[in-house]
Amino acid sequence: MILHIDMDAFFASIEQAINPRLKGKPLVVGSRAHKMRTVVCAASYAAKALGIHSGMPSKDAFSICPNLEFVAADQAKYIWTSGEIFELLKGFGFLLHYASVDEFQMDIQGYPEPLKLAAQIQEQIYANFNITASVGIAKNWLLAKLASKINKPNGVTLINEGNFKDILSATPLIKAYGMAGKTGQILLAQGLKSCWDLYLNLPGFFTENPGKFEEMPEKPRSVSHAYTLPRAQTNPRFISAWIRVLSEMVGLRLRQKNLTARTVQLWLNIPQKGDFLVQKTCSIATNDSYEIYLRILKLMAGMPQKRPKIRALGVSASHLSPQEYHPLLIEEKRREALVKAIDRINSRFGDNSIFPAQVILTHK
Protein backbone atom coordinates (compact mmCIF):
# COMPACT_ATOMS: atom_id res chain seq x y z
CA MET A 1 0.00 0.00 0.00
CA ILE A 2 1.33 3.42 -0.95
CA LEU A 3 0.44 6.70 0.73
CA HIS A 4 1.05 9.70 -1.49
CA ILE A 5 1.26 13.12 0.17
CA ASP A 6 0.72 16.05 -2.16
CA MET A 7 1.11 19.52 -0.69
CA ASP A 8 -1.73 21.87 -1.64
CA ALA A 9 -0.57 24.79 -3.82
CA PHE A 10 2.75 24.43 -2.02
CA PHE A 11 4.62 27.65 -2.86
CA ALA A 12 1.49 29.80 -2.67
CA SER A 13 0.45 28.23 0.65
CA ILE A 14 3.86 28.96 2.18
CA GLU A 15 3.62 32.59 1.04
CA GLN A 16 0.14 32.76 2.60
CA ALA A 17 1.48 31.27 5.84
CA ILE A 18 4.20 33.95 5.87
CA ASN A 19 1.80 36.75 5.05
CA PRO A 20 -1.68 36.19 6.54
CA ARG A 21 -2.99 39.15 4.50
CA LEU A 22 -2.79 36.91 1.42
CA LYS A 23 -4.90 34.10 2.86
CA GLY A 24 -7.98 33.30 0.80
CA LYS A 25 -6.94 35.75 -1.93
CA PRO A 26 -6.06 34.96 -5.53
CA LEU A 27 -2.27 34.80 -5.42
CA VAL A 28 0.40 33.71 -7.84
CA VAL A 29 4.04 32.99 -7.19
CA GLY A 30 6.18 34.06 -10.14
CA SER A 31 9.51 32.58 -11.04
CA ARG A 32 10.97 36.09 -11.40
CA ALA A 33 10.46 39.36 -9.59
CA HIS A 34 9.04 41.27 -12.57
CA LYS A 35 5.40 40.43 -12.20
CA MET A 36 4.37 41.10 -15.81
CA ARG A 37 7.29 39.25 -17.39
CA THR A 38 7.34 35.93 -15.69
CA VAL A 39 5.58 32.62 -15.54
CA VAL A 40 3.19 31.47 -12.83
CA CYS A 41 4.98 28.75 -10.92
CA ALA A 42 2.24 28.35 -8.31
CA ALA A 43 -1.30 29.63 -7.90
CA SER A 44 -3.43 29.71 -4.75
CA TYR A 45 -6.77 27.92 -4.78
CA ALA A 46 -8.61 31.24 -5.09
CA ALA A 47 -6.53 31.96 -8.23
CA LYS A 48 -7.06 28.44 -9.57
CA ALA A 49 -10.80 28.94 -9.23
CA LEU A 50 -10.47 31.82 -11.71
CA GLY A 51 -8.70 29.58 -14.22
CA ILE A 52 -5.16 30.65 -13.37
CA HIS A 53 -2.67 27.81 -13.34
CA SER A 54 1.04 26.99 -13.17
CA GLY A 55 2.96 27.57 -16.38
CA MET A 56 0.69 30.42 -17.49
CA PRO A 57 2.41 33.69 -18.48
CA SER A 58 1.86 36.12 -15.61
CA LYS A 59 0.44 38.82 -17.90
CA ASP A 60 -2.32 36.36 -18.90
CA ALA A 61 -3.02 35.72 -15.23
CA PHE A 62 -3.29 39.47 -14.57
CA SER A 63 -5.61 39.89 -17.54
CA ILE A 64 -7.94 37.34 -15.91
CA CYS A 65 -7.67 38.98 -12.49
CA PRO A 66 -6.22 42.51 -12.39
CA ASN A 67 -6.27 42.50 -8.57
CA LEU A 68 -4.20 39.35 -8.38
CA GLU A 69 -1.66 39.26 -5.55
CA PHE A 70 1.90 38.54 -6.69
CA VAL A 71 4.96 37.23 -4.84
CA ALA A 72 8.32 36.49 -6.46
CA ALA A 73 9.48 32.95 -5.76
CA ASP A 74 12.11 32.49 -3.08
CA GLN A 75 13.23 28.91 -3.43
CA ALA A 76 15.15 28.82 -0.17
CA LYS A 77 11.97 28.76 1.89
CA TYR A 78 10.27 26.13 -0.29
CA ILE A 79 13.31 23.85 -0.28
CA TRP A 80 13.73 24.22 3.47
CA THR A 81 10.04 23.50 4.10
CA SER A 82 10.16 20.48 1.78
CA GLY A 83 13.17 19.11 3.65
CA GLU A 84 11.53 19.70 7.04
CA ILE A 85 8.33 17.95 5.91
CA PHE A 86 10.45 15.03 4.71
CA GLU A 87 12.10 14.84 8.15
CA LEU A 88 8.70 15.02 9.86
CA LEU A 89 7.34 12.20 7.66
CA LYS A 90 10.42 10.07 8.32
CA GLY A 91 9.35 10.12 11.98
CA PHE A 92 6.38 7.90 11.08
CA GLY A 93 8.86 5.08 10.49
CA PHE A 94 7.92 4.01 6.97
CA LEU A 95 9.98 3.80 3.82
CA LEU A 96 9.79 7.29 2.35
CA HIS A 97 10.73 8.91 -0.95
CA TYR A 98 10.58 12.28 -2.56
CA ALA A 99 8.35 12.30 -5.64
CA SER A 100 8.99 16.02 -6.20
CA VAL A 101 9.63 19.11 -4.08
CA ASP A 102 6.02 19.02 -2.85
CA GLU A 103 5.13 15.34 -3.09
CA PHE A 104 6.19 12.44 -0.92
CA GLN A 105 5.54 8.72 -1.15
CA MET A 106 5.33 6.45 1.84
CA ASP A 107 5.29 2.66 1.61
CA ILE A 108 2.84 1.61 4.34
CA GLN A 109 2.62 -2.07 3.40
CA GLY A 110 0.68 -3.96 6.06
CA TYR A 111 -0.37 -0.91 8.09
CA PRO A 112 -3.95 -1.57 9.27
CA GLU A 113 -5.30 1.99 9.55
CA PRO A 114 -4.11 4.05 6.59
CA LEU A 115 -6.93 6.64 6.88
CA LYS A 116 -6.02 7.35 10.50
CA LEU A 117 -2.37 7.65 9.52
CA ALA A 118 -3.27 10.08 6.72
CA ALA A 119 -5.22 12.25 9.17
CA GLN A 120 -2.26 12.28 11.60
CA ILE A 121 0.10 13.31 8.81
CA GLN A 122 -2.19 16.15 7.74
CA GLU A 123 -2.54 17.35 11.33
CA GLN A 124 1.20 17.37 11.95
CA ILE A 125 2.00 19.16 8.71
CA TYR A 126 -0.59 21.82 9.50
CA ALA A 127 0.54 22.19 13.10
CA ASN A 128 4.17 22.65 12.12
CA PHE A 129 3.95 24.64 8.90
CA ASN A 130 0.44 26.12 8.80
CA ILE A 131 -0.13 24.62 5.34
CA THR A 132 -2.27 21.74 4.15
CA ALA A 133 -1.65 18.53 2.24
CA SER A 134 -3.86 16.08 0.40
CA VAL A 135 -3.30 12.37 0.77
CA GLY A 136 -3.99 9.53 -1.62
CA ILE A 137 -3.85 5.88 -0.61
CA ALA A 138 -3.86 2.98 -3.02
CA LYS A 139 -2.13 -0.27 -3.86
CA ASN A 140 0.50 1.32 -6.10
CA TRP A 141 2.15 4.72 -6.45
CA LEU A 142 0.34 5.67 -9.64
CA LEU A 143 -3.12 5.15 -8.16
CA ALA A 144 -2.03 6.76 -4.88
CA LYS A 145 -0.88 9.86 -6.75
CA LEU A 146 -4.15 9.94 -8.66
CA ALA A 147 -6.07 9.58 -5.39
CA SER A 148 -4.19 12.52 -3.85
CA LYS A 149 -5.55 14.81 -6.60
CA ILE A 150 -9.20 13.87 -6.10
CA ASN A 151 -10.13 15.67 -2.88
CA LYS A 152 -7.96 18.75 -2.96
CA PRO A 153 -7.27 20.74 -0.86
CA ASN A 154 -6.75 19.01 2.49
CA GLY A 155 -8.51 15.81 1.42
CA VAL A 156 -7.89 12.11 1.86
CA THR A 157 -8.87 9.55 -0.76
CA LEU A 158 -8.49 5.81 -0.50
CA ILE A 159 -8.79 3.79 -3.68
CA ASN A 160 -9.68 0.17 -3.01
CA GLU A 161 -11.44 -2.56 -4.95
CA GLY A 162 -14.83 -1.28 -3.79
CA ASN A 163 -14.51 2.20 -5.29
CA PHE A 164 -11.92 1.53 -8.00
CA LYS A 165 -14.42 1.62 -10.88
CA ASP A 166 -16.39 4.63 -9.57
CA ILE A 167 -13.28 6.75 -9.01
CA LEU A 168 -11.68 5.90 -12.32
CA SER A 169 -14.97 6.54 -14.16
CA ALA A 170 -15.33 9.95 -12.54
CA THR A 171 -11.72 10.99 -13.20
CA PRO A 172 -10.88 12.57 -16.56
CA LEU A 173 -8.12 10.78 -18.45
CA ILE A 174 -5.77 13.75 -18.36
CA LYS A 175 -5.65 13.58 -14.55
CA ALA A 176 -3.70 10.30 -14.75
CA TYR A 177 0.07 10.49 -14.42
CA GLY A 178 1.70 10.99 -17.81
CA MET A 179 -1.55 11.82 -19.60
CA ALA A 180 -1.42 15.61 -19.49
CA GLY A 181 0.62 15.86 -22.71
CA LYS A 182 0.61 14.36 -26.16
CA THR A 183 -0.08 10.79 -25.03
CA GLY A 184 -3.26 11.96 -23.34
CA GLN A 185 -4.31 13.89 -26.44
CA ILE A 186 -3.80 10.84 -28.66
CA LEU A 187 -5.85 8.64 -26.34
CA LEU A 188 -8.56 11.32 -26.05
CA ALA A 189 -8.76 11.41 -29.84
CA GLN A 190 -9.29 7.66 -29.75
CA GLY A 191 -12.33 8.19 -27.56
CA LEU A 192 -10.84 7.42 -24.15
CA LYS A 193 -12.35 10.08 -21.92
CA SER A 194 -11.98 8.80 -18.37
CA CYS A 195 -9.38 6.83 -16.45
CA TRP A 196 -11.85 3.94 -16.50
CA ASP A 197 -11.77 3.98 -20.33
CA LEU A 198 -7.98 3.83 -20.07
CA TYR A 199 -8.21 0.93 -17.65
CA LEU A 200 -10.53 -1.02 -19.96
CA ASN A 201 -8.09 -0.58 -22.86
CA LEU A 202 -4.81 -0.73 -20.93
CA PRO A 203 -5.47 -2.46 -17.59
CA GLY A 204 -1.78 -2.88 -16.91
CA PHE A 205 -1.34 0.88 -16.78
CA PHE A 206 -3.01 0.98 -13.37
CA THR A 207 -2.54 -2.50 -11.99
CA GLU A 208 0.86 -3.72 -13.09
CA ASN A 209 2.82 -0.56 -12.51
CA PRO A 210 5.50 -1.67 -10.08
CA GLY A 211 5.90 1.66 -8.36
CA LYS A 212 8.25 4.54 -8.60
CA PHE A 213 10.42 3.21 -5.77
CA GLU A 214 11.51 0.21 -7.74
CA GLU A 215 12.03 2.24 -10.87
CA MET A 216 14.63 4.50 -9.33
CA PRO A 217 17.99 3.84 -10.97
CA GLU A 218 21.25 3.68 -9.05
CA LYS A 219 22.49 6.75 -10.86
CA PRO A 220 20.58 9.33 -12.89
CA ARG A 221 20.28 8.74 -16.61
CA SER A 222 20.82 12.40 -17.36
CA VAL A 223 21.40 15.74 -15.69
CA SER A 224 19.75 18.78 -17.20
CA HIS A 225 18.81 22.36 -16.57
CA ALA A 226 16.54 24.62 -18.58
CA TYR A 227 15.53 28.25 -18.38
CA THR A 228 12.76 30.37 -19.88
CA LEU A 229 13.97 33.86 -20.76
CA PRO A 230 11.83 36.85 -19.73
CA ARG A 231 11.31 37.52 -23.45
CA ALA A 232 12.50 36.02 -26.73
CA GLN A 233 16.10 37.00 -27.49
CA THR A 234 18.34 36.98 -30.56
CA ASN A 235 21.51 38.46 -29.06
CA PRO A 236 24.11 35.66 -29.44
CA ARG A 237 26.22 36.93 -26.52
CA PHE A 238 23.22 36.86 -24.21
CA ILE A 239 22.18 33.40 -25.41
CA SER A 240 25.77 32.11 -25.03
CA ALA A 241 25.90 33.52 -21.51
CA TRP A 242 22.76 31.58 -20.61
CA ILE A 243 24.19 28.43 -22.16
CA ARG A 244 27.24 29.03 -19.96
CA VAL A 245 25.04 29.34 -16.87
CA LEU A 246 23.18 26.14 -17.65
CA SER A 247 26.45 24.33 -18.46
CA GLU A 248 27.86 25.47 -15.11
CA MET A 249 24.80 24.08 -13.32
CA VAL A 250 24.94 20.77 -15.19
CA GLY A 251 28.71 20.42 -14.66
CA LEU A 252 28.41 21.19 -10.95
CA ARG A 253 25.76 18.53 -10.44
CA LEU A 254 27.83 15.98 -12.34
CA ARG A 255 30.85 16.74 -10.17
CA GLN A 256 28.76 16.56 -6.99
CA LYS A 257 27.70 13.05 -8.02
CA ASN A 258 31.21 12.16 -9.19
CA LEU A 259 29.89 11.44 -12.68
CA THR A 260 31.03 12.33 -16.17
CA ALA A 261 29.00 12.58 -19.36
CA ARG A 262 29.80 11.63 -22.93
CA THR A 263 26.70 13.13 -24.51
CA VAL A 264 25.58 16.73 -24.35
CA GLN A 265 22.26 17.97 -25.62
CA LEU A 266 20.97 21.44 -26.43
CA TRP A 267 17.28 22.26 -26.38
CA LEU A 268 15.98 25.55 -27.74
CA ASN A 269 12.44 26.83 -27.90
CA ILE A 270 11.98 29.14 -30.86
CA PRO A 271 8.65 31.00 -30.98
CA GLN A 272 6.48 30.09 -33.97
CA LYS A 273 8.93 27.34 -34.96
CA GLY A 274 8.79 25.08 -31.95
CA ASP A 275 11.48 23.08 -30.25
CA PHE A 276 14.98 22.49 -31.57
CA LEU A 277 16.87 19.57 -30.10
CA VAL A 278 20.38 18.47 -31.00
CA GLN A 279 22.93 16.28 -29.25
CA LYS A 280 26.44 14.98 -29.70
CA THR A 281 28.28 12.08 -28.15
CA CYS A 282 32.04 12.38 -27.72
CA SER A 283 34.54 9.64 -26.94
CA ILE A 284 35.91 11.50 -23.91
CA ALA A 285 33.51 11.98 -21.02
CA THR A 286 33.62 15.21 -19.05
CA ASN A 287 32.13 17.00 -16.08
CA ASP A 288 34.00 20.24 -16.66
CA SER A 289 31.37 22.94 -17.12
CA TYR A 290 33.51 24.89 -19.57
CA GLU A 291 34.05 21.82 -21.73
CA ILE A 292 30.29 21.14 -21.70
CA TYR A 293 29.74 24.75 -22.71
CA LEU A 294 32.19 24.48 -25.62
CA ARG A 295 30.54 21.27 -26.85
CA ILE A 296 27.12 22.93 -26.68
CA LEU A 297 28.40 25.97 -28.59
CA LYS A 298 29.55 23.64 -31.37
CA LEU A 299 26.05 22.20 -31.53
CA MET A 300 24.62 25.71 -31.62
CA ALA A 301 26.95 26.64 -34.47
CA GLY A 302 25.49 23.80 -36.52
CA MET A 303 22.00 25.31 -36.41
CA PRO A 304 20.59 26.23 -39.81
CA GLN A 305 19.29 29.55 -38.49
CA LYS A 306 22.19 31.81 -37.48
CA ARG A 307 20.39 34.28 -35.18
CA PRO A 308 17.34 32.44 -33.96
CA LYS A 309 14.89 34.16 -31.65
CA ILE A 310 15.03 32.06 -28.52
CA ARG A 311 12.46 31.97 -25.72
CA ALA A 312 13.74 29.06 -23.65
CA LEU A 313 16.82 26.90 -23.63
CA GLY A 314 18.18 23.85 -21.89
CA VAL A 315 21.41 21.92 -21.51
CA SER A 316 21.45 18.23 -20.76
CA ALA A 317 24.22 15.67 -20.17
CA SER A 318 23.72 11.93 -20.57
CA HIS A 319 25.63 8.66 -21.12
CA LEU A 320 26.83 9.07 -17.57
CA SER A 321 29.58 7.04 -15.97
CA PRO A 322 31.61 7.31 -12.77
CA GLN A 323 34.57 9.63 -12.99
CA GLU A 324 37.58 7.43 -13.63
CA TYR A 325 39.71 9.40 -16.05
CA HIS A 326 42.68 11.15 -14.49
CA PRO A 327 44.30 13.90 -16.54
CA LEU A 328 47.83 13.36 -17.75
CA LEU A 329 48.58 16.54 -19.64
CA ILE A 330 49.75 19.58 -17.67
CA GLU A 331 47.03 21.77 -19.17
CA GLU A 332 44.36 19.23 -18.20
CA LYS A 333 45.75 18.98 -14.68
CA ARG A 334 45.74 22.77 -14.31
CA ARG A 335 42.17 22.91 -15.58
CA GLU A 336 41.06 20.24 -13.12
CA ALA A 337 42.76 22.06 -10.25
CA LEU A 338 41.00 25.28 -11.25
CA VAL A 339 37.57 23.61 -11.32
CA LYS A 340 38.22 22.04 -7.91
CA ALA A 341 39.32 25.39 -6.47
CA ILE A 342 36.17 27.11 -7.79
CA ASP A 343 33.98 24.36 -6.35
CA ARG A 344 35.74 24.68 -2.98
CA ILE A 345 35.23 28.46 -2.92
CA ASN A 346 31.53 28.13 -3.73
CA SER A 347 31.14 25.38 -1.17
CA ARG A 348 32.83 27.52 1.50
CA PHE A 349 31.24 30.90 0.78
CA GLY A 350 27.98 29.94 -0.91
CA ASP A 351 26.74 29.20 -4.40
CA ASN A 352 27.75 31.71 -6.98
CA SER A 353 30.42 33.37 -4.82
CA ILE A 354 32.71 32.95 -7.81
CA PHE A 355 31.49 32.40 -11.34
CA PRO A 356 32.62 32.93 -14.94
CA ALA A 357 32.60 36.63 -15.86
CA GLN A 358 30.44 35.82 -18.87
CA VAL A 359 27.54 35.03 -16.53
CA ILE A 360 27.26 38.77 -15.76
CA LEU A 361 25.68 39.20 -19.19
CA THR A 362 22.62 37.28 -17.99
CA HIS A 363 22.00 39.83 -15.24
CA LYS A 364 21.02 42.53 -17.69
Partner: protein, 102 residues
Protein backbone atom coordinates in the same frame (compact mmCIF):
# COMPACT_ATOMS: atom_id res chain seq x y z
CA UNK B 1 17.17 9.06 1.35
CA UNK B 2 16.74 8.21 -2.29
CA UNK B 3 16.85 11.30 -4.43
CA UNK B 4 18.26 9.88 -7.59
CA UNK B 5 15.48 11.16 -9.79
CA UNK B 6 14.80 14.33 -7.86
CA UNK B 7 17.15 16.76 -6.25
CA UNK B 8 15.37 19.21 -3.94
CA UNK B 9 18.53 21.29 -3.74
CA UNK B 10 18.63 21.99 -7.48
CA UNK B 11 17.74 25.64 -7.72
CA UNK B 12 16.76 27.61 -10.75
CA UNK B 13 17.65 30.93 -9.09
CA UNK B 14 21.24 29.90 -8.40
CA UNK B 15 22.52 32.31 -11.00
CA UNK B 16 19.93 35.03 -10.60
CA UNK B 17 21.38 38.47 -9.98
CA UNK B 18 22.17 39.21 -6.35
CA UNK B 19 19.35 39.77 -3.91
CA UNK B 20 19.55 43.56 -4.07
CA UNK B 21 19.05 43.53 -7.82
CA UNK B 22 16.68 40.59 -7.80
CA UNK B 23 14.45 42.09 -5.18
CA UNK B 24 14.00 45.86 -5.33
CA UNK B 25 12.44 45.83 -1.85
CA UNK B 26 15.59 44.41 -0.26
CA UNK B 27 16.88 46.44 2.68
CA UNK B 28 19.73 44.30 4.05
CA UNK B 29 20.29 46.71 6.95
CA UNK B 30 21.96 45.70 10.19
CA UNK B 31 19.66 45.60 13.21
CA UNK B 32 19.98 44.74 16.88
CA UNK B 33 17.77 41.91 18.05
CA UNK B 34 16.63 40.66 21.40
CA UNK B 35 16.12 36.92 21.04
CA UNK B 36 16.19 33.78 23.07
CA UNK B 37 17.58 30.45 21.98
CA UNK B 38 15.70 27.34 23.12
CA UNK B 39 15.89 23.71 21.96
CA UNK B 40 18.24 24.68 19.14
CA UNK B 41 15.73 27.21 17.86
CA UNK B 42 15.82 31.00 17.78
CA UNK B 43 12.91 33.15 18.92
CA UNK B 44 13.37 36.87 18.16
CA UNK B 45 11.36 39.03 20.55
CA UNK B 46 12.19 42.61 19.51
CA UNK B 47 14.51 44.48 17.18
CA UNK B 48 16.09 47.91 17.05
CA UNK B 49 16.18 49.49 13.60
CA UNK B 50 17.21 53.09 12.95
CA UNK B 51 17.01 53.83 16.69
CA UNK B 52 13.41 52.67 16.90
CA UNK B 53 12.40 49.59 18.83
CA UNK B 54 9.98 47.14 17.26
CA UNK B 55 8.36 44.60 19.58
CA UNK B 56 7.69 41.34 17.78
CA UNK B 57 4.09 40.24 18.33
CA UNK B 58 4.18 37.09 16.23
CA UNK B 59 6.52 34.99 14.10
CA UNK B 60 4.45 33.86 11.12
CA UNK B 61 7.10 31.63 9.54
CA UNK B 62 10.76 30.77 9.72
CA UNK B 63 13.13 28.95 7.41
CA UNK B 64 16.82 28.46 6.83
CA UNK B 65 19.23 28.60 3.94
CA UNK B 66 22.80 27.42 3.74
CA UNK B 67 25.08 29.96 2.08
CA UNK B 68 28.38 28.13 1.83
CA UNK B 69 29.34 27.21 5.37
CA UNK B 70 27.06 29.85 6.87
CA UNK B 71 23.53 29.00 7.91
CA UNK B 72 21.10 31.88 7.62
CA UNK B 73 17.87 31.71 9.62
CA UNK B 74 15.00 33.81 8.27
CA UNK B 75 11.95 34.97 10.19
CA UNK B 76 8.81 36.70 8.99
CA UNK B 77 7.65 38.69 12.01
CA UNK B 78 4.72 40.95 12.82
CA UNK B 79 5.25 44.15 14.75
CA UNK B 80 2.32 46.53 15.33
CA UNK B 81 0.44 44.99 12.42
CA UNK B 82 3.32 45.34 9.95
CA UNK B 83 5.12 42.32 8.54
CA UNK B 84 8.95 42.27 8.30
CA UNK B 85 11.51 39.73 7.21
CA UNK B 86 14.61 39.58 9.38
CA UNK B 87 17.51 37.12 9.30
CA UNK B 88 20.43 35.88 11.36
CA UNK B 89 23.71 34.66 9.87
CA UNK B 90 25.36 32.15 12.21
CA UNK B 91 28.76 32.71 10.62
CA UNK B 92 28.96 36.48 11.00
CA UNK B 93 26.49 36.69 13.94
CA UNK B 94 24.82 39.50 12.06
CA UNK B 95 21.12 40.21 12.31
CA UNK B 96 19.61 42.18 9.49
CA UNK B 97 16.27 43.38 8.26
CA UNK B 98 15.76 41.98 4.78
CA UNK B 99 12.56 43.68 3.76
CA UNK B 100 9.21 45.09 4.77
CA UNK B 101 6.55 42.72 3.49
CA UNK B 102 3.55 44.61 2.11
Amino acid sequence: MHQNSFNPQARWDRFEPDKAGFNPDALAERIEVLAYFKNARIYPKAFLWSNKEYKIDNITYNWQERLGQALVSYFSVVSSGQLYQISFNNSTFRWQIDKIIP
